[in-house]
Symmetry: C2
Subunit: 369 residues, 2 copies
Amino acid sequence: MSGKETRSGRVVRTLKVDLGDRSYPVELGVDTLAGAGKAIARCAPSSRAFVVTVPPVSRRYSGVLQRSLRVAGYRVHRVIVPDGDASKNPRQLSKLWDELIRCGADRSTPVVALGGGMVGDLAGFAAASYLRGVPFIQVPTTILAMVDASIGGKVAVNLPQGKNLVGAFYQPRLVWIDTGTLRSLPVRERAAGFAEIIKSAAIWDAAFFERLEREAERLMDLDPKVLIPTLERACAIKAEVVSQDEREAGLRQLLNFGHTVGHAIEKLGRYRGLLHGEAVAVGMLIAARKSEELGLSPAGTAERIRSLALRFGLPSELPNHPRNAYLAALKVDKKMSDSKIRFVVLRGIGRAETVPLTPREVLSASRCR
Amino acid sequence: MSGKETRSGRVVRTLKVDLGDRSYPVELGVDTLAGAGKAIARCAPSSRAFVVTVPPVSRRYSGVLQRSLRVAGYRVHRVIVPDGDASKNPRQLSKLWDELIRCGADRSTPVVALGGGMVGDLAGFAAASYLRGVPFIQVPTTILAMVDASIGGKVAVNLPQGKNLVGAFYQPRLVWIDTGTLRSLPVRERAAGFAEIIKSAAIWDAAFFERLEREAERLMDLDPKVLIPTLERACAIKAEVVSQDEREAGLRQLLNFGHTVGHAIEKLGRYRGLLHGEAVAVGMLIAARKSEELGLSPAGTAERIRSLALRFGLPSELPNHPRNAYLAALKVDKKMSDSKIRFVVLRGIGRAETVPLTPREVLSASRCR
């Protein structure tokens, strides 16, 4: 990429998520937050805008975003929800509904999610359900949300029984990615974001995986020369998969690589243990080992994933819970169809498929007690 | 219609709701409930089925339906929710989610709504949101649900602030109409159902309206010779409008004729006063009078609606609440876009359109204090 293209305040890349009359653009740039209002006004004109965010993001970025919305003609209502995945629950959802009613939001009012995946999922389900659906805009401020959560329209809240058990497929009108917001992202969350990028490469694009192997350290430093093309490629993979299978009938399941065990880890840690991306990193490793065990993937595949993940500072050990606890957690996994899990395995780096496995079979390749 | 076509236990009419890859059939027949399981198994194969119903319907019909599901290979889980529109709330929704998890429902498990519009709306939103959407089947047992609620995919629950404030557009896989179930429907609910049929005729089909004027008494007697073609035409109108405008961007709003004021009436009666159809009957009258007042509809239009509604035993007077209460109730109407309501008016019997009106203007044609 040329220096010009990474100059501040410009959208340097536009991707399209192609879903017929539900298509939408993903706009990537550096320090572009002040331009978001104008872009939102083009795709969701209304007199009001409803911004959902969390305290740390709000402190840094909601001033700029709200100003840009006001300049674009919106009266802005901001709601701050407590930080952390625990806020992705029916009670917070209900609070958002109440706030939407209180501020007089109507069918034209855009709901703008400013923050990480939790904010996007929660605000997205509120947008999907309020008045049976109002315009939804994603302004992701974490790597994870940029390359994964914000693209594809999966929104949900958790129930005490499991993660993302209720939600919707609801596409945003626009995804506005300002990589400038990543500078304030804690290093651990940065790494967790790269876990989803490793995942995309592992299931879809061997050359991209090799690029990650070459650039891991520069990526962790957020060097824009490598960061922007990496985010772009990861977004494009997600967009490509989603375009071909919006409602997760088949292909899209591949994006769940590492997520079956990842979700179980998060659940057993009561969503206060490993971060989502960290849990997925461990889950990928177990799935890659299973792929080798089943003879689907060449020996050494799991090791390549492990050593790349380690360079990003990601964990590789399954947290210490009883095997039975893992089995029980896997049983409420929503990818389960008639008691078998459609488990995502690799056919080597860059190619994935699903195989039906019982929870017990899933765990056989782990060193779980 | 020939006698053969109304013979018991046969589907005599199949309509298609045309929505591309979300299209589905509406199967109309007399005493066909025992055939539902087989039809459901064709469009939603799974090892489990989840039936939602209310006590009076359950007593009469869930035995037959459950048997037919079992014969078709399902293990059946039935949940009974309390009768009445008050059950259409987030708490009952949450209970259905819990039951779905408890019985091990997965993405293939059909949720079958057996009952009136409340059951369909509540079970439908549970089906739309559980695991981001599982197959949904409508088995309506009231006229209202047959011709209106079960077709078109609008599902929702009420909030304390208003009716249907949160929900989804979520299409069923199949609508199975057995008119035999109407024999046990209380006369008042029967009439309320015909209110929605009058509405369909009033906005869309003058000849159908004239047929209703000829057949009102025979329809109230549920004479199958006139009942089946009438339900068929009403379903077809709904299907036609929905096919052209699934997400209520324009045309579909016409189906809200009578509903703006109708919803306000229901809300002020705390959903324990007039039935939905009765409230809509009064709402249609006010909207028809407004249409005349605006010079859009010839004089006498409102009177034709009033006298037809009266023959079905429907009310024509606005319940006695303060004008300000009506104004406040109209303000949270979800059809409101930037403080004007898109109010449905008639251009004579058989033709409707929307005009933007303030709540105050809506009420000017009523005799509200």
